[in-house]
């Protein structure tokens, strides 16, 4: 029996689940190994749970979704979050520092029609998560590696060291050393293949915090580059801004300023 897999969407851009469909060379093979019984973006027929593997994209931002994720967890033997939204709250977690009433008024002429929570939170704040796949978007090779591990009943292991390591391996010129460009690479988890430095720009943290990051030292590095105050806060409060180490550092810088 092929494992029954499901892909669930919460507040997100669809880019992470798209990575399954973007696996052009492996898609039909993948479909031979895993039965995506619930994948609304790709399939009209939706089968009921329980599911062996649930891939969850998106963050929790509405009262309905806060209830729905609990049902998803109950129906799923193994639950993996895919992407920055599901794993860290996503870019939409910027509301967590703002007045959501004001956000509603800015975006909608009749804000009263809109049902939303005041926060955007990662799945792990609501239910137990078995595996977190980071990235904005998730890397297709990491995603398929997780699927292969699960098919062989092994626990998926993804690298958690910093972008700097892969940046060196790739032979990029360090944008911090050579150009003084602000770069989140030293504190960001690998997975993208050190793309931004290869494109002559600093990393902006799509893959969330590395395990071995030193935020205190990193804040000093930013300051030494002249990135302080609001500018430093903005750099940290990005795609994965709500994840604890980055949130705490940005909050401290913001408090210092006051």
């Amino acid at each position: 029996m092929k494992p029954r897999a499901a892909v669930f969407k919460f507040a997100s851009c669809d880019g992470c689940q798209l990575q399954f469909l973007n696996a052009e060379d492996e898609l039909l093979k993948l479909a031979g190994q895993v039965d995506f019984v619930y994948f609304p973006e790709a399939r009209s027929r939706a089968l009921e749970g329980p599911y062996d593997i649930a891939f969850v994209e998106g963050s929790i931002t509405t009262p309905d979704d806060a209830r729905r994720i609990i049902k998803v967890r109950e129906e799923s033997h193994y639950l993996a979050t895919i992407g920055a939204c599901a794993t860290a709250g996503g870019i939409q977690a910027l509301r967590n520092w703002a007045d959501v009433e004001q956000y509603r008024r800015v975006t909608y002429p009749s804000p009263e029609f809109i049902s939303t929570l005041s926060t955007s939170t990662p799945i792990s704040e609501h239910v137990r998560v078995d595996c977190e796949v980071w990235g904005c978007p998730v890397d297709q090779h990491q995603l398929l590696a997780v699927v292969r591990s699960l098919l062989s009943k092994a626990r998926p292991v993804l690298p958690a060291y910093s972008v700097c390591m892969d940046c060196k391996r790739r032979g990029n010129v360090c944008v911090v050393v050579a150009r003084g460009a602000p770069c989140l690479g030293p504190v960001t988890r690998t997975g993208c293949g050190a793309l931004c430095p290869a494109f002559n720009r600093g990393c902006y943290g799509c893959f969330g915090p590395a395990d071995d990051q030193n935020m205190e030292s990193f804040a000093r590095l930013l300051a030494s580059q002249g990135v302080t105050g609001d500018d430093a806060v903005r750099r940290l409060r990005g795609i994965n801004g709500y994840v604890r180490p980055w949130r705490e550092t940005a909050d401290a810088i913001a408090a210092d300023k006051k």
Partner: protein, 434 residues
């Protein structure tokens, strides 16, 4: 479920599948007459226009890309063009050409995705590309080959196909050398026959023959098929600069949807996307694509939304030819990006996303921080038009089973390749019949 009290009936599609994002449809019929029809977009709002306030304009292309994982390039392009207008930048012609190539990549991958994975199963009685592959593996493999080259173009210029990193205000952070693009050219030439075959394949689908009164809207450019530049044009006479967007179009909110509706002021719904672009710009597609378009036997221009899938396939072919043209002529620009000074002001731009015109307007302060942002995605603009098409279908529902009616609605909606994540500000079908 339909309630069969007296002659009343509700049709409800709780979750529109094979579309990007979350939406529902509710239709209420009494004695065969349509009482109410609403397309409910319940995709949760992410408040981009609100959190962009106070962010640095230079971060904006990375942030607006996150509105949509399917068409991040179009978001980046509308954003950078808006700021380039605001900062008074002149863009190097080679950069301009690379941006066309970049958008060609996105059109190819997004259109190939929609044709093969989302729409084709409707016409061939399948529930997904996987079951379609059991029936017609050749067509599916062909589609995947086409899609792959689109992704490869975007990755060549931006590092990856979803949320690429290379675009910035002024140009790109890195531009390729000519030799780095040679392989791309070879791959494009290999899928060109696939793209022609794809046009023939979709034009033989059993497409419903309808004609509707539709106002088609897209950009139009004096000498090329519209992508990143041009004037707003419509089949009912609009001809204006994108700066005048608000003079011609208005957004309003409906209580049942997280997406704002748009109308042409004083007229009504309008239609964006490949069919609008082909209808308004067939004379800019070049003789070879035009001749393939004529061979389909479908009249162009036409007012049948179901021919949208053929228009989409024609654009894939166009984008392949256009990409090859750009690659053949390519010489790297002197600098990857123009340098600039930030300033306060207002910038507006429209580019042609795969699903249609995408309008951005930004206001900055003197430090280049965003004071206000407005983003009007194509699906949100198409929403009222989708509802109008569904209303036109409603009289047929009376003799149909719930499953048939639902399928009809879904096919009609997919004509627009709705990208609900973008517009969340999108489908559940609920038809209530009395």
């Amino acid at each position: 479920m339909p309630s069969r009290r007296t002659k009343s009936r509700t049709i409800r599609v709780n979750y529109l599948t094979r579309a990007e994002g979350e939406a529902a449809l509710r239709i209420h019929l009494r004695d065969g007459a349509l009482i109410e029809l609403r397309l409910e977009i319940f995709e949760p709002p992410r408040f981009f226009e609100a959190f962009l306030r106070g962010r640095d304009s230079r971060e904006a292309p990375d942030l607006t890309a996150r509105i949509c994982g399917i068409c991040p390039v179009a978001y980046q392009m509308s954003t950078v063009h808006a700021f380039e207008g605001l900062y008074g930048l002149t863009i190097d012609p080679a950069v301009r050409e690379l941006r066309r190539l970049y958008l060609c990549g996105e059109w190819i991958e997004s259109h190939a995705l929609h044709i093969h994975m989302l729409a084709a199963p409707d016409f061939l009685g399948c529930d997904s590309i996987i079951t379609l592959a059991d029936r017609n593996r050749e067509a599916v493999e062909r589609g995947l080959r086409i899609k792959k080259i689109g992704n490869a173009i975007v990755a060549a210029l931006g590092g990856r196909s979803v949320h690429p990193v290379g675009a910035c205000i002024g140009g790109f952070t890195r531009v390729p050398r000519r030799d780095q693009l040679a392989d791309l050219r070879e791959q494009l030439l290999r899928v060109r026959d696939d793209a022609v075959e794809c046009v023939r394949w979709v034009s033989h689908f059993d497409l419903p023959a309808v004609t509707r009164d539709i106002e088609f809207v897209s950009l139009r450019h004096p000498d090329e098929y519209p992508m990143n530049e041009g004037r707003m044009a419509s089949s009912k006479g609009i001809d204006a600069s994108p700066d005048a967007f608000d003079d011609f179009f208005e957004e309003h909110q409906v209580p049942y949807s997280n997406a704002l509706h748009c109308k042409v002021k004083g007229r009504g719904p309008y239609f964006l996307g490949p069919l609008a672009r082909v209808n308004l710009n067939l004379d800019r597609m070049g003789p070879e694509v035009t001749s393939v378009a004529r061979e389909t036997g479908i009249p162009w221009p036409n007012s049948n939304p179901y021919t949208g899938i053929v228009a989409r396939a024609l654009e894939v072919l166009y984008a392949i030819d256009e990409a090859v043209r750009v690659l053949d002529a390519y010489q790297p620009p002197p600098a990857p990006a123009a340098s600039f000074e930030v300033r306060s002001g207002v910038g507006r731009a429209i580019t042609e996303a795969p699903r249609g015109s995408l309008y951005h307007a930004f206001e900055t302060n003197e430090r280049g921080l965003i004071h206000s942002a407005r983003i009007v995605p194509p699906t949100s603009q198409n929403q009222a038009r989708i509802e109008a098409d569904l209303r036109a279908l409603a009289p047929d529902f009376i003799q149909r089973s719930l499953a048939e009616a639902t399928h009809m609605c879904e096919v009609a909606i997919r004509n627009y390749d709705p990208c609900i994540s973008c517009s969340t500000h999108f489908l559940k079908l609920e038809i209530e019949r009395h």
